[in-house]
């Protein structure tokens, strides 16, 4: 593995930041996907969409300067950037569902060979509700999953077939983990890049789904 001090989560966020379209409108999920904002190039022209009703999401509000009428989807006070606009939930989800969002980045519990995503519940254990995730995954032009390659107990999360309830069917386009960047194609999953210090064999061993290793395999 790499000897750099960058955390796994930051490595994933850095790679996803390079995948986002210049000047695009992007929604970042709560948690690891939020880190992507730290690595957007200054001239990216990207505006972030906050599902509760604005475009132009900025960094966290500094302590003592919170405006509680501007929070993110987790209820945390945030700031806005120049170019921002506010709107209601019907508009927010029309933007999401109507194909006006260039990309969405979300975490996952499981992803499979068909691009199915499970990220909103574990029956009997964790039933928080889907929030905006189902609409985001159906509506965004590019759906990027950001997650650790295997679960905390070392089990593969990229499977032949998801076992948990689905968030959406056949909507995932790209999976970025601490080990690899995988593209979902109509033929199955393609291993397009490996993280520095990781071999394709290690990725295959940590993945239950079948992977086609690209001839032009790259490193990130």
């Amino acid at each position: 593995m790499s000897d750099t001090k960058i955390s796994k989560r930051d490595r994933i966020a850095m790679r996803i930041a390079r995948e986002l379209p210049h000047g695009g409108l992007v929604n970042l999920g709560i948690g690891m996907p939020t880190l992507v904002a730290n690595y957007l190039p200054k001239d990216s022209g990207i505006l972030l969409h906050s599902e509760n009703g604005y475009i132009g999401l900025g960094p966290d509000a500094p302590a003592g300067q919170e405006d509680w009428s501007i929070v993110n989807a987790g209820g945390k006070p945030m700031t806005i950037v120049p170019g921002a606009s506010f709107f209601d939930s019907a508009m927010s989800f029309s933007i999401i569902r109507g194909g006006h969002l260039d990309a969405t980045v979300l975490g996952a519990l499981e992803v499979d060979e068909e691009g199915n995503l499970a990220n909103y519940m574990i029956p009997g254990k964790m039933v928080p509700g889907m929030g905006g995730a189902m609409d985001l995954v159906v509506g965004a032009r590019i759906v990027i999953v950001a997650m650790e390659h295997v679960s905390k107990d070392g089990k593969p999360k990229i499977l032949r077939k998801c076992s948990l309830p689905l968030t959406a069917r056949k909507e995932v386009d790209i999976i970025v983990t601490d080990m690899a960047l995988i593209r979902v194609t109509h033929k199955g999953l393609e291993l397009a890049e490996v993280a520095e210090g990781v071999t394709p064999e290690q990725v295959i061993a940590a993945t239950e789904a079948r992977l086609e290793v690209r001839a032009d395999l790259k490193t990130f």
């Binding site: 009703g53 009428s69 989807a73 509700g129 929030g131 509506g139 689905l166 056949k170």
Partner: protein, 217 residues
């Protein structure tokens, strides 16, 4: 001109078992004064329609914590542990609805539509028991309208005709919900005379508002 009432007067007609829509997203843009009046009055077994179960100790989350809700219709309950507990024990029925579908079902009820066709939820547990409709080769779910007896709307400023300015990210569900309830109560930080709110700044037309309440400072 609309009736300006105290919170207690505004909710006087609400009974146990009634349905209430409450705007707000993680408590941002929620009518706290009206929620507190419900708690004080001791109402229970309410149907609460709101985006999320909120954050512990804040706004409509208190209705759940104090066991006043018989049925919750929401998109997310994960940040209020009490909601999950009551759902698992069966004390509170919970209907989880994708957030965009929730907004459109409410809007449909208020816009006189028979429902909406959405691709959201196809191939998931959300489609169970719902009619599927194919339009130009693409499959959609028929989601039915959702209305309520009362809507609690939070505004920054309201004039005496009920025209409201809802600030920043407080708009969320506060606009569609005002379309979909029989009685719409607006709680505002500022109540102003007609003409003092620029018509161009009105985010919610007064025609949809029945009662105005001043928010507690």
């Amino acid at each position: 001109m609309k009736q300006i009432k105290t919170a207690q007067e505004a909710i006087a007609a609400i009974k146990d078992g009634d349905s209430i829509m409450a705007g707000g997203f993680m408590c941002c843009g929620q009518a706290y004064t009206l929620v507190d009046a419900i708690l004080e009055k001791g109402l229970k077994n309410l149907t609460l329609i709101t985006n999320d179960a909120g954050l512990p100790g804040k706004g409509a989350a208190k209705l759940i914590e104090q066991k006043r809700v018989g049925k919750l219709v929401a998109s997310h309950i994960g940040l209020n542990p009490e909601a999950g507990k009551q759902m698992n024990s069966g004390e509170m029925k919970v209907e989880l609805v994708p957030q965009g579908t929730l907004a459109e079902r409410i809007r449909a009820a208020g816009a006189g539509l028979g429902g909406v066709l959405t691709p959201t939820g196809i191939g998931t547990a959300v489609e169970e028991g719902k009619q599927k409709v194919t339009v130009d080769g693409r499959e959609f779910l028929l989601e039915k309208p959702l209305s309520a007896e009362y809507a609690f709307i939070k505004a920054h400023t309201v004039d005496k005709y009920g025209n409201a300015y809802i600030a920043k990210a407080e708009k969320n569900f506060n606009i569609v919900m005002a379309l979909a309830a029989r009685t719409v109560i607006v709680e505002a930080e500022h109540i102003v005379e007609p003409g003092q709110l620029d018509p161009d700044r009105v985010t919610l037309p007064g025609a949809l508002v029945h009662v105005i309440v001043e928010a507690k400072k």
